[in-house]
Symmetry: C2
Subunit: 253 residues, 2 copies
């Protein structure tokens, strides 16, 4: 048996958002490796071993997957969203770069998925319709000062900003500090979206303004979208709102 490793994106939650390419890889796999709740999204079947692990163990998980593929197993590493966006793909390539030299010649593919930021954006309209950036707010792997610097530069560039991993019990103050800093750089009136658990049963979306945003509204499953100076609301008869950023832009703020 010739082994392979696919790093696959399961999308934000709903089966309707999993690509046929990923479904096919999972059907051919002998092993699924990943964070336990994502692994559990793959139904059990004969011939498939599911290796669930804790959230903090990306490199161990990547190394396990590489060892299995080197042994001839057909391995899918699962991520939610897109595997290339603050997820398992970078961890696997870090493990390849630092690990057994033979690993670099394994059959390794990345299978893209619907990212949390695009699923969240789709739910409210088209907030990412103009230039945008994505910033991981976790300071586990980079200094907080770098995150602050990026937030300021992103606001000065008038990007729409998607914030990943905004808050956890171990990182309780970072999102509030990010909001303070963004309020110094952007009008308080810019729309801000909290989008949680998109496309699953616990989906919750709230559109507020940067001025009124309260960090405790977010949790580990939330993506926060911060509008640019051009982002607009369309109010509907039922009180709901579309959020979108026009394609055109005048001079920068």
């Amino acid at each position: 048996m010739i082994g392979w490793l696919a790093i696959a994106g399961l999308g934000p939650g709903a089966a309707q958002l999993v690509t046929p390419e990923v479904t096919e890889a999972l059907a051919e796999a002998t092993d699924v490796v990943g964070y336990e709740p994502y692994v559990m999204r793959v139904p059990p079947r004969a011939g498939l071993t599911r290796h669930g692990s804790d959230n903090r163990e990306e490199i161990d998980r990547a190394s396990l997957a590489l060892r299995l593929a080197a042994q001839g197993r057909r391995v899918v590493v699962v991520s939610s969203g897109d595997p290339g966006v603050f997820a398992m793909a970078a961890a696997v390539f870090e493990a390849i770069d630092a690990g057994d030299p033979s690993w670099r010649d394994l059959d390794v593919r990345v299978l893209p998925g619907i990212s949390a930021m695009f699923a969240a954006a789709a739910r409210v309209g088209a907030p990412l319709g103009h230039d945008f950036c994505a910033i991981n707010l976790s300071d586990n792997l980079k200094p907080w000062e770098l995150i602050e610097r990026r937030l300021r530069l992103a606001a000065q560039a008038d990007f729409v900003i998607a914030l990943y991993n905004p808050l956890s019990s171990a990182r309780p103050w970072q999102l509030g500090r990010a909001f303070e800093l963004l309020r110094e750089e952007l009008p308080g009136s810019v729309p801000l979206v909290f989008a949680s658990a998109i496309s699953d049963a616990r989906e919750a979306i709230e559109t507020v303004t940067l001025r009124d945003a309260v960090a405790s509204r977010a949790d580990m499953r939330t993506v926060v979208l911060v509008g640019s100076s051009r982002t607009r609301l369309i109010v509907r008869a039922d009180g709901s709102r579309f959020v979108y950023t026009p394609r055109s832009a005048g001079v920068s703020p």
Copy 2:
């Protein structure tokens, strides 16, 4: 019949990258509206009218789709990639915002797709594994000065940068100017990927360095990924390379 409008992402090209949600909407549609080559990706069938149009007519196309939905038709506006990323979703919401007030109460949904930047990233590894941004290089709808400002700020933030719409016959010099400017801000050694026509028969991918990048390599179907100062290459026995950006970062450059 109650009309609706879905703005759907067809992904970069391959049928294996179209979500079941989009496939289902297309199966229920009476009308498909979009840029001619994308509309032609939807097979003809009885009961389906395909409305193809030229590339420059986004607002006319959006208005047509909204009029059809208001008449009770089931309309899918198709984009390549993700519809919310430099594609038709923003154009439809612009048309709603400026158009017939009754349009804002139509049943309008956005169905996300696999974006060109994530499909391109997946093909080479995990170049977007750390903080990143996406900039539309077209100056049709924004001043070139704003684009230059964003490029400089993005490089100073040490984002990985995805450049959409890098070059066309009507915009021949912009990408070359962008490379010049980025060379002033970033080490010449950062990896740079030209990714064209991802997942279709004409797919072409080339990894070079910022120093050696030649703008004429790109065309209208190319996404350019510019690495950050941390982006790395892994060279394989067959001479191919993986490109990835580690999750961790030290101080900014």
